[in-house]
C-alpha cells in the first residue's frame, strides 16, 4: 500500500470508527479483542472471597498494555458495577512482555491472551439466588496502529453454601505468571540510590547478575516520569540498572517494579503489584494508648526474664560461679562486683539505645536485635565466644589484665571490677537475640516513640536484667546458700567452656543461615587461626620469657590474627552470597503478604511464625512446641496453613509486617482463623503445647461454622 493510500485508508477507518461514538472493537472487519469475565469458582459463597478475571484475547500481532504501559499506550481499566458492600481488590497484573517499537520506544504489554485477576469479597449475606458480576472494561489494543476498545463484561453466578473451583487451567496459567515476592534474604542484595538525573538499582547477587536476560520493569508512581532502565555491570560482580528520570519528587528514593529473569519475576518495592502488600492486622495491634509507665514496667519485667533465656545461660552460669568465689570477700567488694556487672548491662543497653536513636534519626528502619542481622557482628561474636572458651579450657591465661587486648577477658582476673563489667556486657550481647515476653510490645512501643522514650525503655530493660544481681550482691547473706569454692571449680570452668563452644556452633549456624555454608567455613578458618594465636600466647608468652622472644611471639600472633582476618573474613567471607530462605520443614510455606492474602482468600486458617535463625526463643518454641508430633497433628487436623516468615536477614517486607503488628522483633506468632481472618489472634512469645492446642481448637470450630 503506498503511503497516500494508506493514509486515506487510515483516515477512512478513523472516519468510520468515530461518528458512531461507541469505540469499535472491529478493525478491518476483525474483532481485535474478545473480552470476557470469568471466575475461579462455580458459585458465590457469602462472605468468602474469590478471584475473578478479565480475559482478553487479542488477535495475533496485537497487544494490550501492562499497568505501566511504558513510553506510550494506556493500561486496561475495569470499572465494576457491584453493590457497595462488595470489596474489590486491585488488579493482579501478570508479568508483561517488553516490546520495542521503532524510534527507541519501549512499551510493556501482552500478546495473544491475558487474564487480569482480582479478588472479590462478597458480603456475608446476599439476597437472591444468583449474582450478576458486571464491569466496564476499557483497553487500548495496538499493532502498528492503536484502537481503543471497551465493553461491558458480565458473569452470572449462583449463590451457594459451597462452591467448586472453575476455570482451573486458565487461573493456574496466569497465577503462575504473577510476579512473586522477593525471596526472604534476597532483599539484602538489592539497594537503591539516586542522583540528580537517575535512580540506580544495584543487585549484588552474582548468580542474578550472571543472567543475560535479567531485566527491570519499572512501576513509577505518578507524578514520577522516567526513561528506559539501562543495565550495566556493577563493582564486585553485581549488576546495576540506571533509570533516568524526567521528574521525581525529592522524597522518592526508590522505584517499585519487577525484577524479571527467565520468565519469572519478583516484585520490588513497598507496593507489590499484586496486592496492597499488607497483612490483616487485628484492631488495636498497633494501639499505642497504653501508658508509658505500663510499657516501662513491661520493659523491666522483660529485662528480668532475659536472664532466664537459653542464650544467656553460659554467661549467667559463669556469673553465679563468680559469686561463689566472691562469697568470702568483703561485703563492699561483693557489691562492687555486682554493681560493675550491672554497669556492663547498662552500658550495652545504653549504647544500643543511642545507636537506635542515631540510626532512626538517619532515617533507617530499626528493629530489635538488628545487630544480629549483620553477619560481621556474628563473626565478631563467634571470635569472642571462642577466645572466651579457650581461656576457660586453660589454653591460655590472662596474665596482664591491664593490657588493652585483654579487655573483655579480664573477667577471669578474679578480683577485677573491669572483668565484672565486661561480663555484664557479654551477657547482654548474648541476650539480645531473645526477645523475652513483654519485651516485644514494650520495644514496639518505644521504637515508634521519641528518643527520650527509647532511652527510658532501654534503661528499664537494663534495670530489669541487672536487678537480680544487684539484689544478690547487696544481700550477700543469700550467697551463703551457694556451695564453697574448691578444686571442683576448675572442672566446672572447663565444662562452661563447652557450653560456650555450643554457643559458637549456634553462631556459626546463624552465619550459615545468613550467608550459606561457605561463610561458615571461612569463619571457622579464621577461628582456627585465632585459636592458634591463643595457644601461642599460652605456650610461649610465659612470664619469664625474654623480651625478644615475647616480641617475636607477639608479632607472629598479630600476623596470624590480622592475616587470617584479612584473608578469610576480608577477602573470602565478604563475597559470600546472602542465603535464600531456609525452610527445613516442607510443611511450612514461605511467608509473603500476597501468599497470606491468597490463602485467606481461599478460606484457609493461617498460622504465621515470624522467626530468625539467630532467635533462640524462636528455635526453642519451634523445637519444644511447633515441631512436636502432637502439635503438628493438631495443625493438620484443623487444616491450618503454616507459614514461616524468616527474618534472619531482616527482610524489609517482613519488617513492615512486624511493624503492622506493632512489633520490632521476633518471635511473633499470629493465628488467622478462616472464619474471621480480619481478627487474627496474636499468641504470646513463649509458646506451650497446651496454649497452641487450645488456640487451634477455638479457631478450628469457627472454621467449620464459617458460612
Amino acid at each position: 500500500m503506498n503511503p497516500l493510500r494508506r493514509v486515506a485508508f487510515v483516515l477512512l477507518a478513523a472516519a468510520l470508527l468515530f461518528p458512531a461514538g461507541a469505540r469499535a472493537q472491529k478493525f478491518n472487519g476483525r474483532e481485535l479483542v474478545q473480552a470476557s469475565l470469568i471466575a475461579d469458582t462455580s458459585g458465590i459463597v457469602p462472605g468468602k472471597p474469590f478471584t475473578a478475571g478479565l480475559l482478553l484475547k487479542m488477535v495475533p500481532g496485537w497487544h494490550t498494555y501492562w499497568q505501566y504501559p511504558g513510553d506510550a499506550g494506556i493500561p486496561t481499566e475495569l470499572k465494576w458495577h457491584l453493590p457497595n458492600d462488595w470489596k474489590v481488590g486491585p488488579i493482579q497484573w501478570p508479568i508483561p512482555l517488553k516490546l520495542d517499537e521503532p524510534g527507541d520506544i519501549q512499551i510493556y504489554g501482552y500478546h495473544d491472551e491475558v487474564l487480569l485477576m482480582l479478588q472479590l469479597t462478597p458480603p456475608a449475606a446476599i439476597a437472591g439466588k444468583s449474582v450478576q458480576l458486571a464491569a466496564d472494561a476499557d483497553w487500548l489494543v495496538c499493532e502498528k496502529v492503536c484502537i481503543p476498545g471497551s465493553g461491558k463484561v458480565q458473569l452470572d453466578l449462583p449463590v451457594a453454601d459451597s462452591a467448586a473451583p472453575a476455570n482451573p487451567e486458565l487461573f493456574a496459567k496466569f497465577r503462575d505468571r504473577l510476579p512473586k515476592p522477593l525471596p526472604t534474604g534476597a532483599s539484602a542484595a538489592i539497594s537503591w540510590s539516586r542522583d540528580a538525573k537517575a535512580f540506580r538499582l544495584t543487585i549484588a547477587d552474582k548468580s542474578l547478575a550472571g543472567k543475560t536476560n535479567l531485566d527491570f520493569f519499572p512501576l513509577p508512581e505518578s507524578p514520577t516520569v522516567i526513561g528506559h532502565p539501562r543495565r550495566a555491570a556493577a563493582a564486585g560482580g553485581g549488576t546495576e540498572f540506571t533509570i533516568p528520570f524526567e521528574t521525581a519528587d525529592a522524597k522518592v528514593q526508590t522505584l517499585d517494579g519487577l525484577l524479571v529473569v527467565d520468565g519469572q519475576a519478583w516484585s520490588l518495592g513497598t507496593k507489590p503489584s499484586n496486592t496492597d502488600g499488607t497483612a490483616p492486622v487485628p484492631p488495636g495491634a498497633t494501639d499505642r494508648s497504653g501508658s508509658l509507665l505500663k510499657f516501662l514496667l513491661f520493659g523491666f519485667i522483660g529485662g528480668f526474664i532475659l536472664n532466664l533465656m537459653p542464650c544467656v545461660l553460659p554467661v549467667i552460669s559463669l556469673k553465679i560461679f563468680g559469686f561463689i568465689q566472691h562469697a568470702g570477700d568483703s561485703r563492699g567488694k561483693i557489691f562492687g562486683n555486682g554493681l560493675a556487672f550491672s554497669l556492663g548491662i547498662f552500658a550495652w543497653f545504653l549504647g544500643l539505645a543511642l545507636l537506635t536513636i542515631g540510626l532512626k534519626a538517619a532515617g533507617h528502619q530499626i528493629t530489635w536485635a538488628f545487630q544480629f542481622t549483620n553477619p560481621l557482628f556474628v563473626v565478631a561474636m563467634s571470635a569472642v565466644v571462642l577466645v572466651f572458651a579457650l581461656n576457660l579450657f586453660g589454653v591460655f591465661e590472662i596474665t596482664l589484665p591491664a593490657a588493652a587486648t585483654t579487655g573483655m577477658l579480664g573477667w577471669s582476673a578474679r578480683e577485677g571490677y573491669a572483668g565484672s563489667f565486661f561480663q555484664g556486657v557479654f551477657a547482654t550481647v548474648l541476650a539480645t537475640p531473645c526477645t523475652a515476653p513483654f519485651l516485644g510490645s514494650a520495644l514496639g512501643f518505644a521504637f515508634a516513640a521519641s528518643a527520650g522514650v527509647i532511652l527510658l525503655m532501654f534503661v528499664a530493660i537494663a534495670a530489669g536484667m541487672s536487678a537480680p544481681y544487684l539484689l544478690l550482691t547487696a544481700q550477700p547473706a543469700w550467697l551463703r546458700f551457694l556451695p564453697r569454692p574448691g578444686a571442683w571449680m576448675v572442672a566446672v570452668k572447663q565444662f562452661m567452656g563447652f557450653l560456650l563452644i555450643a554457643t559458637l556452633l549456634f553462631l556459626l549456624w546463624v552465619l550459615g543461615a545468613e550467608r550459606g555454608p561457605e561463610a561458615m567455613i571461612w569463619t571457622s578458618a579464621f577461628l582456627l587461626a585465632l585459636s592458634i594465636a591463643c595457644w601461642m600466647k599460652g605456650a610461649f608468652l610465659l612470664p619469664g620469657a625474654s623480651a625478644l622472644r615475647r616480641a617475636i611471639v607477639l608479632v607472629l600472633m598479630l600476623v596470624l590474627v590480622l592475616g587470617s582476618g584479612w584473608y578469610f573474613i576480608g577477602e573470602k567471607f565478604r563475597v559470600t552470597q546472602t542465603a535464600g530462605p531456609s525452610l527445613t520443614k516442607s510443611d511450612w510455606i514461605a511467608f509473603s503478604p500476597e501468599r497470606l492474602q491468597s490463602e485467606l482468600a481461599q478460606g484457609h486458617s493461617v498460622f504465621l511464625d515470624f522467626t530468625a535463625a539467630w532467635c533462640i526463643t524462636c528455635k526453642f518454641n519451634e523445637a519444644s512446641v511447633l515441631e512436636t508430633a502432637s502439635v503438628r497433628e493438631a495443625f493438620e487436623r484443623a487444616g491450618v496453613v503454616k507459614m514461616k516468615a524468616d527474618w534472619t536477614n531482616a527482610d524489609p517486607v517482613i519488617t513492615k509486617t512486624l511493624q503492622q503488628f506493632g512489633r520490632v522483633g521476633v518471635p511473633l506468632y499470629v493465628l488467622y482463623p478462616a472464619g474471621n481472618p480480619n481478627q487474627p489472634i496474636v499468641l504470646p512469645e513463649l509458646l506451650t503445647k497446651d496454649l497452641v492446642l487450645n488456640h487451634l481448637q477455638t479457631a478450628a470450630p469457627k472454621v467449620a461454622a464459617a458460612p
Binding site: 487510515v10 496502529v145 528506559h228 521528574t247
Partner: protein, 203 residues
Amino acid sequence: MKTKLLFTTLTLLCTGALFAAESPQVGAPAPGFSLPSAQGKTESLGAHKGKYVVLEWFNPGCPFVQKHYQSENMQALQKEFTKKGVVWLTIDSSAPGEEGNLSAADGLKQINDWKMYPTALLLDADGKVGHEYGATNTPHMFIIDPDGKLIYKGAIDSKASADQADIKGATNYVKAALTEAMAGKPVENATTKAYGCSVKYAP
C-alpha cells in the same frame, strides 16, 4: 544485504539510544530545528525567539489525537493561545508507509477537515526532530519559553484515556503551563507522563 540490514539496525539502535540520552529535559534549551510545513513554507524554531512556542506531536490516525480533535478540545486550545501570540507548531513524525504519514497536500486537507488552528503543520517524516525532542506519543506536548528554554514536556491533560468524555474533568496541562508562564509564575506540573499512541517512526 544482510550485513547492510544489520548495520542499519545497529545504527538505528545507536542513534536511538543517543537520542534517548540527549532528549532535552524541562529547563534545558530547546534544540533548534527547521522543517517544511504543509503550507509550503519552512519553519524554524529560531525564527520564533521571543515568543512562546508549543510543539504538538500529531498523527491523525491515532485515537488519542482524534479524541482531542473530534471534541475540538485541541482546536480551542490552538485558537486561544495563537490569539495570545503563542506560536503553535503541530509536528507529524510518522514515517512514510506508517499510520499518519502526510504529504503537504494531505496536511492541508487535514487542517481543513478538522478545522485545525496551528501556526503551522510541520512534516518530519524522517523523525529527526521527533527523536531530537524524545517525542514518544501522539499527542506529546512541549512548550518553549521566549528565551528558547523548554518549560513543559508531557501529556495534553491529566486523564490518560481515549474517551472524549474524560476531557471535561481533566486538568489541561498545556493550558495550565502556558497560563502560569505567561503570568510570570513557575509551571507547577512541568514534566508529566505523556499518553497516547507511539509515534510511528520508521522501522
